[in-house]
């Protein structure tokens, strides 16, 4: 039934767990719409045949809708729409809240290509390789104008906005290849801005990644055993840009809040309220530091708009994420642990 309806409505392959969920809502909604459309059409045709003008002086009665019928016309569609909204919004909240064990990949849109960077290396242009059966979270930004990362098989898209991070997660149940398109008009070659998601089995993915890391050009240079990870690069940038003159990595407050354990913490704000220090907040605080100042600190930080590239700010975020207070008995994970914001 699912397969029949999917083909009937010209929907592409269901490449993610979300695609299956959302398609069922799609069928429900579209079939109801078609049924009501047929109903309205039939009533219209019946009226047309039954009441078509016979003589130029046909008498017609004065008919006014009784109040109960008006109530029915409002009530029935309203309850139907609300039902759809509740179903749809549940899915929306689910798909907007990445799960805890997601693999992070940074995505940068640029006229007219997509760049994918894994926090521990490597990076690739136009091909995103991910493991099957594991949630993947994409942290998306743009280097120039707005783009939109769209995978029809996943029924999912998110805009890539310059100087901001948006996120999108998916879980592809089985190995396969899926087309990536740019859905937000971005100029001359907008229609050519394509990429591909390649889903590998978990074992294939691991061996692919190991091979990639070994074969990176930087690894071939004498004296370089491992490629520079995003976090290492972030540390280098933090030093070069002078971030560490005000922010410590030891847990001690200085001119600015410490970066140790900052990621995922709820920070009280100057002027009331609190904010969760996630990728979006960390990036905002680099670009527009005075927008949300942590309580107890002076608003003295300069903005880094135009001074940090998209790669650099992503690397800084990764560096901050790597600074977790180590508790006894907790061993450091191979990759930064993502602290869930939703489920």
């Amino acid at each position: 039934m699912n397969e029949l309806l999917r083909r009937l409505f010209f929907l592409p392959e269901q490449g993610s767990t979300f695609a299956v969920k959302v398609d069922h809502l799609h069928y429900f909604l579209l079939l109801t719409t078609l049924a009501v459309a047929v109903g309205i059409g039939t009533v219209g045709i019946v009226f047309l045949v039954r009441y078509h003008r016979r003589t130029a002086s046909d008498a017609t009665p004065r008919v006014v809708a009784p109040t109960w019928m008006e109530g029915l016309f409002i009530g029935v569609p309203l309850s139907l729409f609300l039902l759809w909204f509740v179903l749809g919004f549940q899915q929306f909240v689910w798909v907007m809240s990445p799960p805890q064990d997601a693999l992070d990949v940074y995505v940068t849109g640029k006229q007219w290509m997509w760049k994918f960077t894994y926090p521990g290396g490597p990076s690739a242009i136009d091909t995103l390789v991910v493991p099957a059966g594991r949630p993947v979270r994409l942290l998306i930004t743009s280097r120039d104008v707005i783009h939109s990362f769209y995978v029809p098989d996943f029924r999912m898209k998110r805009d890539a906005v310059p100087s901001r991070y948006t996120d999108l997660w998916f879980e592809a149940p089985k190995p396969g290849r899926h087309l990536v398109l740019c859905a937000e008009y971005c100029g001359l070659d907008h229609s050519q801005m394509r990429a591909e998601v390649v889903v590998l089995s978990p074992a294939d993915f691991e061996s692919w990644r190991d091979a990639q890391r070994r074969n990176l050009p930087v690894a071939a240079l004498p004296g370089a055993n491992t490629p520079e990870t995003m976090a290492v690069r972030g540390e280098r940038i933090a030093t070069a840009q002078g971030c560490l003159q005000c922010h410590t990595v030891t847990g001690a407050p200085h001119i600015g809040p410490t970066w140790l354990g900052l990621y995922g913490r709820k920070e009280p704000l100057e002027g009331g309220g609190a904010v969760l220090a996630d990728e979006a907040y960390l990036t905002e605080s680099m670009m527009d530091p005075l927008a949300k100042v942590v309580a107890g600190y002076a608003p003295v930080m300069p903005g880094y708009h135009g001074r940090l590239s998209a790669e650099d700010s992503g690397a800084l975020v990764e560096f901050i994420k790597s600074l977790r207070p180590l508790r006894p008995g907790v061993t450091a994970a191979e990759e930064p642990v993502y602290v869930p914001t939703g489920r």
Partner: protein, 535 residues
């Protein structure tokens, strides 16, 4: 053939100068009709070029840059030069004073000024087109629109000027409906078309200034580098989207509310019935005008807007759909036990109801938020708004043109030919836009000059439909032009309609009424009085 009634507004001065300096709302309406029809032709030719380019993947007749400019100009022309002024400025100007028993609108000279503002704005936009044309899409999204090297500035300035024409027209209608209603014509007796134009005018006056402001900000950004939308200078590109859609979502209702007014009139006139629920139509008109201002965020579900924000905007969008559903039920109810005449305006009305219903329901599907993530910025959205803009508004525009053609020019058109053309238009419309829904389901993004080959068969179907549409429009243009001179003289009320506008002669004299009519009941009360109708 003898000319129409000797003392009509058409014969009151036959020089070009008498038209260019007229304060007569009817002549101004006719001028707007001619101007908007011209730009409908221009925008339609752009659309045809786009459809031909999309026949094959890769290059068919133009390159990427030309395609990008072409779809921008198609959008700009159709939205601001045709859709927004078409029904309010052309039919609204002509009919509102006739429907409320007034001699003219409240500010006749301002009304003439709105024509010249429109012509000025349209000329500046046209000049921009000759300069090469913008390639930003009609939505002018920043930071692309502030950084691209094409002629964006003249298009921005042109649309800015046209905005003033819209505001002036809206103000004029609000003042007219409030102050110039004939004695005894109370609010709840007003024709539903007047209510629709009144609701539209409120949106025009409240929303258009925001468009002017945001276009000016983009212009400032381009000329002096203001940096308001530029992230590199502390600006926010998403701010533009919020401001733009704060205007442009209500603008959808500027385009569709008047067409609902036309349908409310036509469905009563051609089934010879009173409106099934007059008050529901009135309140839902005002409801759309109000709630339409709180739905703009549904254009931004994928942009990084907060989850709660998206939910709130989604729920508000469903409310707007309820108002539309109410109207559709009321029109359907009006047909019940009527005396339905199968004339071209009624055929367009039935097409309108079906397309509005279907297009509207897809809008409801988008508002569920989760389904939107797949459809946003795909051909599904293109099909959805063409269902509303073409399937609903253009059908209503054609319905209005046919219904009021005898009123405006005193001539009839060949009825059978008109019926066949209407069926052809509806068929062509379905063939053009249903494949686009399916393309959207397949995941074809909008604004693509080129596409992966698996999308081709549906594009071919859509282009075939577009050529049918073009052929239908050609037929309509031919017989209406012919009828202007050679059509049978219509008489005052060829449809036997009890709409208030038919209480003056057709075409009306310059001063509309020799004696101010009396209004003991609302319009279209066929059951209570004998209505004169031609054999």
């Amino acid at each position: 053939m003898s000319p129409p009634a000797a003392e009509s507004y058409l014969s009151d001065g036959r020089t070009l100068w008498s038209w260019l300096t007229t304060h007569d709302h009817k002549r101004i309406g006719v001028m707007f009709l001619v101007l908007t029809l011209f730009f409908f032709l221009v925008g339609g030719l752009f659309a045809l070029a786009l459809r031909i380019e999309l026949l094959t993947p890769g290059r068919t007749i133009m390159g990427h840059l030309a395609y990008n400019r072409m779809f921008t100009l198609h959008g700009v022309t159709m939205v601001w030069l045709f859709m927004i002024p078409a029904i309010p400025s052309a039919f609204g100007n002509f009919l509102v004073p006739l429907m409320i028993g007034a001699r003219d609108v409240a500010f006749p000279r301002l009304n003439l000024a709105s024509v010249y503002l429109y012509v000025l704005g349209a000329s500046v936009t046209l000049w921009g087109m000759f300069e090469g044309g913008a390639d930003t899409g009609w939505t002018f999204y920043t930071p692309y629109s502030t950084t691209t090297g094409t002629a964006v500035l003249p298009v921005l300035v042109g649309v800015f000027i046209i905005g003033f024409s819209t505001i002036v027209t809206g103000l004029n209608f609000i003042a007219t409906v409030h102050t110039l209603r004939a004695p005894g014509l109370t609010w709840m007796k007003l024709p539903l078309f007047v209510w629709a134009i009144y609701g539209t005018s409120i949106i025009q006056v409240l929303a258009t200034p925001v468009l002017g402001m945001v276009l000016l900000l983009v212009a400032l950004e381009r000329v002096v580098g203001a940096g308001i939308f530029d992230p590199a200078r502390g600006g926010d590109p998403l701010l533009f989207q919020h401001l733009f859609w704060f205007y442009s979502h209500p603008a959808v209702y500027i385009m569709v509310l008047p067409s609902m007014g036309v349908i409310s009139e036509a469905v009563c006139a051609f089934s010879r019935k009173n409106a099934f629920s007059y008050r529901m139509i009135v309140y839902s008109t005002l409801g759309i005008a109000f709630v339409g201002f709180f739905t703009w965020g549904h254009h931004m579900f994928a942009s990084g807007q907060s989850i709660f924000g998206s939910g709130a905007f989604g729920a508000m969008s469903m409310l707007v759909a309820i108002f539309t559903a109410i109207k559709i039920f009321s029109w359907l109810g009006t047909l019940y036990r009527g005396s339905i005449a199968i004339e071209s305006p009624l055929i367009y009305t039935l097409g309108f109801m079906f397309f509005l219903f279907f297009g509207g329901m897809i809008g409801v599907a988008y508002s569920t938020t989760s389904l939107n993530l797949h459809w946003h910025d795909t051909y599904s959205v293109v099909a959805h708004f063409h269902f509303i803009m073409v399937g609903a508004t253009v059908m209503a525009f054609l319905g209005a043109l046919h219904y009021w053609f005898p009123k405006m020019f005193g001539r009839c058109f060949p009825a059978k030919l008109a019926n066949s053309a209407a069926v052809l238009i509806i068929f062509g419309f379905i063939t053009t836009f249903v494949p686009q829904f399916l393309l959207g389901n397949m995941g074809m993004p909008r604004r693509y000059a080129d596409y992966p080959p698996h999308f081709q068969s549906l594009h071919v179907a859509s282009t075939a439909g577009a050529s049918l549409l073009a052929f239908g429009f050609l037929i309509i243009a031919a017989y209406l032009a012919w009828s202007l001179k050679y059509g049978a003289v219509a008489g005052d009320n060829p449809w036997g309609s009890d709409g208030f506008e038919w209480r003056s002669a057709s075409p009306p004299p310059t001063h509309n009424f020799h004696v101010t009519p009396e209004y003991p009941t609302g319009p279209h009360e066929y059951a209570r009085e004998e209505v004169p109708h031609a054999a």
